[in-house]
Every structure is written in structure tokens, then in C-alpha cells.
């Protein structure tokens, strides 16, 4: 794990050379949610294969571009296309971009995903602001010798998603008349969708939605000192006693339809960031090391 620090610095240097801006926010866009990049005043774009050590996205609906520019007047870098464990990447590879965002100076991470809704009060197309998560991936991106320059050995995860941001996102949703819930995301490795028995199990243990991403990135974000806000778009309902066969085209259609709502929430949350001014952030582990 000790070579990770050098990889991060190499990737960050490559991006900094072409886009010499300190990002405020890093954004990771999930399945069918890449359209937010159209709202960005683009200043630089990188294909993942141009950036050293970045893995390449293999899913059909993920583009695999890093888009840098301004959104709501804030400098942002957005990943259109994300990496999943089921594609065969290690969690360290998947989470490297998050560490690069932090190394470039980002303070906030916005994550989004498409997920299956298990809470019966949810509807397909609703948005859930992630309040907390359960890691059932059977893996953790922090396994290995800890590099203390990157973060602590045993990060606390009592508030991985900043409660203040959850409240702010819900407030924006009410204002914009968007149906949004607050709930628990559970991450499984996939790639198969769950059985009915598994949906019942995941519901019993306290999850509202289920997906195959996000948790590794969030664990690493907390490890390296980023604040996190997360959005799940419910693309199909997974009610075990009335389960319909999953249809990937339909899931992507729902995600595309829900996308304007996600954009509105992200823009609203970032507007709040700007209003609150640029209070100097607490020095993170990366800045200390430099």
C-alpha cells in the first residue's frame, strides 16, 4: 500500500498540469446518471486511459471520462463512468480517483448510484439521500499496511455521510418538489441481482436500497478526510413478494428520467456550499504530508 502515495501524486500531477485549479468538489456519477456533466462549464476533459493508474470502465453505460470545470461557480471534477468490483477491479484501484481528488485539494465528495429499492414506501424513480451504509461487499479498500500519510489505520465511520448535508439535500428536494427519502444503502459485490431471499435478508438487517458500488469510495473518502454526500436513484423496486424480472434497459431508462432531479439536488447542495463561503477546511492528512 505504500506505493499508493506515489501513484496518487503521479495521477494528480498529470491532471494538475492540464487543469491547474484546486477543485472544491469531486463528483462520481452512477449508472445512467452521466448527464450532469452537461451542466459543467468544461475546462478540461480526460479519458481514464490517459490518466496514469486510473482503471478503465467496462460497463456499457459508463463513459469513462474525468470532466473538470465549474458547476454552480465552484470548481469541480466529475467522473462520468465509475468502476465496480464485479468488473474485477480491486477496491484499491476503484478508489484511487477519490484519493486523487483529495490530493488535488477537494473537500467534498458527491457520490451517486442507481439502486434497487427495498423499502416498500419508495417508488421507482425516487431519490434517496444516503444517510448511512452497510458494507456487505466482503472486502474493504483499506486492507493492507496503512500509509499514515493518507489517513488513520482505523477510521471512525459514525457519520460517513455528513448529516448537515443530508438535511440540506432534503430541504432542496422539498423546495424543488422532488420526492426524496433518507435511508440506508447496502453494498453487495454483485454482479447478479439479488434473490428474493436476499432481498428479505437485506431488508431485515436494516437497508432501504441495495447497490453494487459507492461504499468503497465513501470508506476511502472518510479515510482521507473528505466530507461526503450521497444520492441513490431508485431505478427498480425489489419487493420480494411481488418481484418482477429485472430489465436492464428499463433500469437505465428510469435512471435517465430521474436524472434531472438528481442534477437539481446536486446543484442545490453545491449552491449551499457556495453560500456558506469558503471557510478554511481542517487540514487533512494529505496536506499535512506535503
Amino acid at each position: 500500500m505504500l506505493d499508493l502515495h506515489d501513484k496518487i501524486e503521479t495521477s494528480a500531477a498529470m491532471i494538475r498540469a492540464q487543469w491547474p485549479v484546486q477543485p472544491h468538489t469531486g463528483i462520481i456519477l452512477g449508472t445512467g446518471l452521466g448527464g450532469l456533466v452537461r451542466q459543467i462549464d468544461v475546462e478540461a476533459t480526460f479519458d481514464y486511459d490517459e490518466i496514469p493508474y486510473f482503471p478503465r470502465s467496462t460497463t456499457p453505460t459508463h463513459h469513462g471520462r474525468l470532466v473538470c470545470g465549474h458547476l454552480q461557480g465552484l470548481p469541480v471534477m466529475a467522473m462520468a463512468g465509475r468502476f465496480h468490483r464485479y468488473e474485477g477491479y480491486s477496491l484499491k484501484e476503484i478508489t484511487l480517483p477519490v484519493r486523487v481528488m483529495r490530493a488535488l485539494g477537494a473537500k467534498l465528495l458527491v457520490v451517486s448510484n442507481a439502486c434497487g429499492g427495498m423499502n416498500p414506501y419508495y417508488r421507482s424513480g425516487d431519490i434517496m439521500v444516503i444517510e448511512d451504509h452497510i458494507n456487505l461487499m466482503g472486502d474493504n479498500p483499506l486492507i493492507g499496511i496503512n500509509d499514515d500519510r493518507l489517513g488513520p489505520r482505523f477510521p471512525d465511520l459514525s457519520e460517513p455521510y455528513e448529516q448537515r448535508m443530508v438535511d440540506r439535500a432534503l430541504e432542496v428536494a422539498r423546495r424543488e418538489n422532488i420526492v426524496a427519502h433518507k435511508g440506508v444503502f447496502v453494498a453487495v459485490p454483485g454482479p447478479n441481482l439479488e434473490t428474493r431471499a436476499e432481498y428479505r435478508f437485506l431488508r431485515i438487517i436494516g437497508a432501504d436500497v441495495v447497490g453494487m458500488s459507492t461504499v468503497p469510495e465513501v470508506i476511502v473518502a472518510v479515510h482521507c478526510g473528505l466530507r461526503v454526500v450521497g444520492f441513490s436513484v431508485v431505478t427498480d423496486m425489489c419487493l420480494p413478494d411481488a418481484l418482477e424480472p429485472a430489465n436492464v434497459d428499463k433500469i437505465i431508462a428510469v435512471a435517465n428520467e430521474a436524472e434531472p432531479k438528481l442534477c437539481a439536488l446536486v446543484l442545490g447542495v453545491l449552491a449551499g456550499e457556495k453560500k456558506n463561503g469558503r471557510r478554511p477546511p481542517a487540514p487533512g492528512p494529505m496536506t499535512k504530508a506535503q
Binding site: 451504509h133 472486502d139 483499506l142 499496511i145 489505520r153 482505523f154 477510521p155 438487517i205 436494516g206
Partner: protein, 286 residues
Amino acid sequence: MTNRIAANWAISTHVQAAAVAIRDRWAGRPEAALVLGTGLHQLTSLVQAEAVIPYADIPHFPRSTAVGHCGRLVCGRYGERSVIVMDGRCHGYEGYSPSELALPVLSMRALGAQRLILSNASGGLNPKFASGDVVVVADHINLLFLKPAQMGLPPSALAWDRPGYTPMYDAILIEQALDIARCENFAAHRGVYVAMTGPNYETRAEYRFLRRIGGDVVGMSTVPEAVAASACGLRTLALSIVTNVARPDCPEVVLAVDVIRAAERAESHVRKIMAAVVSQPWPDGE
């Protein structure tokens, strides 16, 4: 030869090599093996050391990288008994494979140990527990996602010298430990230990999940060693110190230093149980 058999063969030669290296430095035959968890390093002072062997000197042994873990074997006398103590343990979150974690236990068994006492620091899930309480592990839930083949247990280990079903944690030792706690007047509970990979501490949603499935305490160790011990016929006792009780509805930040301090405060209780379990006459007459 399938990969699995090849892996098993490799680990049994590794176990032999490690055992030989230890025997070269210490001629004793251990009766009991102790594994000291977070904050329990002081317990080595009870041992009249005859040899101290850093893990680095033993072939195939994993190295301890965690905070508060030394990484050495202390071999010697503990009262009347001959013991071997792992001062500092290795964890899955440090990047070790299950077979690497099993190797020290299998090696100590190969040297002759009959009993294993494991200790650890854990987070309390059961609201009836308090910080500093001792939990005598009655059973565990393995959420480490270990694949059995990865344990790499030698085929012979699976039926070493105890045919039939061996409970993971020895019922007699559990009773003995609880007896001692009552006599010495400190709180000890029987409980279920859940093992998670870590290294992050759990989220609130995860605490609720683990409580709901029957966990009393949660930690990041012990299960790989217990599985290996059970496979090779060691009678096992596991003691867990509750360092903090998780209250997911009014969360507190968990810091590694606080965990270590809480474990150190409860050290004397673990010490009493270990001393008694090792030195009292063994009920099975071993």
C-alpha cells in the same frame, strides 16, 4: 494435484518449518498457547521467559503491523505450566490471507500445545454490556468472507486427534472462566463475537445489523485463529474486552487510542482468567 491440495501441502510444510525454527530457539514443549490482543501486551510480564522470538525470525510467520501489537513469541513458564505467548497478533485487515493467520496457531499445536486462549478488544453491541466488561466468547459469526480453501488447513489437521464434532469454543473452559469472574467479583458475560474485516470501525447501520443477527460484540480478529484451532483439535477459550458500547442512536466517535486504553484498564481481569485457566488442574487430566 489440485490447487487446494497443493495449498494444503504448502501450508503443512510451512507449519513444520515454523515449528522447527521455534524449537531451535526454545526446547520447551508448550502446554498452553496464548494470543494477546489489543492492549494486553502487559500480560507477558506474567511469563518467566526462557526465549523471546520476533515473528520476523520465524519462517512464514506473518508480521504484526497494528497499533499496540509487538510481534514476538514469548516462550517460558507460566506458574506450573509451560506456555507460548503470541505478544501481538496479525489481522486480516493488514493484508494477511487466512492461511497466514492460521499458521501460528497450527505451529503452536505442532509444538505440542493442548489449549489455546485467545484475547481481543471488541466493540459492544449488546446494550447490557459496559466498557471494561469481559465477554467469554460462546460462539461466533464469521463475516470475514474467508473461503474455506483459503484457510489452507492440512488435510491431516481436519481430523488430528479428536474424531467427531469439536465445538469451536470449549464448554468447560467457558464455565471455568465465568467461575473465576464471579469469584474475583468482576463482570463477565457469555456472548457471540462477530468478526468483520475492518479496518474502519462500523457505521451505525452496521451496528444495528450486527445486533439484529445476534452479535454481542464486534471485532476484527479471533475467528481465523479459532477456526484453525478447532480444526487441529486445540481446546479454545476466547476472551473479549468490551472497549466501548456502540449506541447507534446516539453515536460517538471511536478512536483507536481510546480502544487501547479501555482494553488496558480491563487487563487485570483477563489476566486473572488466563492465570487460573492455565494453572488450575485441567479437568480433562491433560
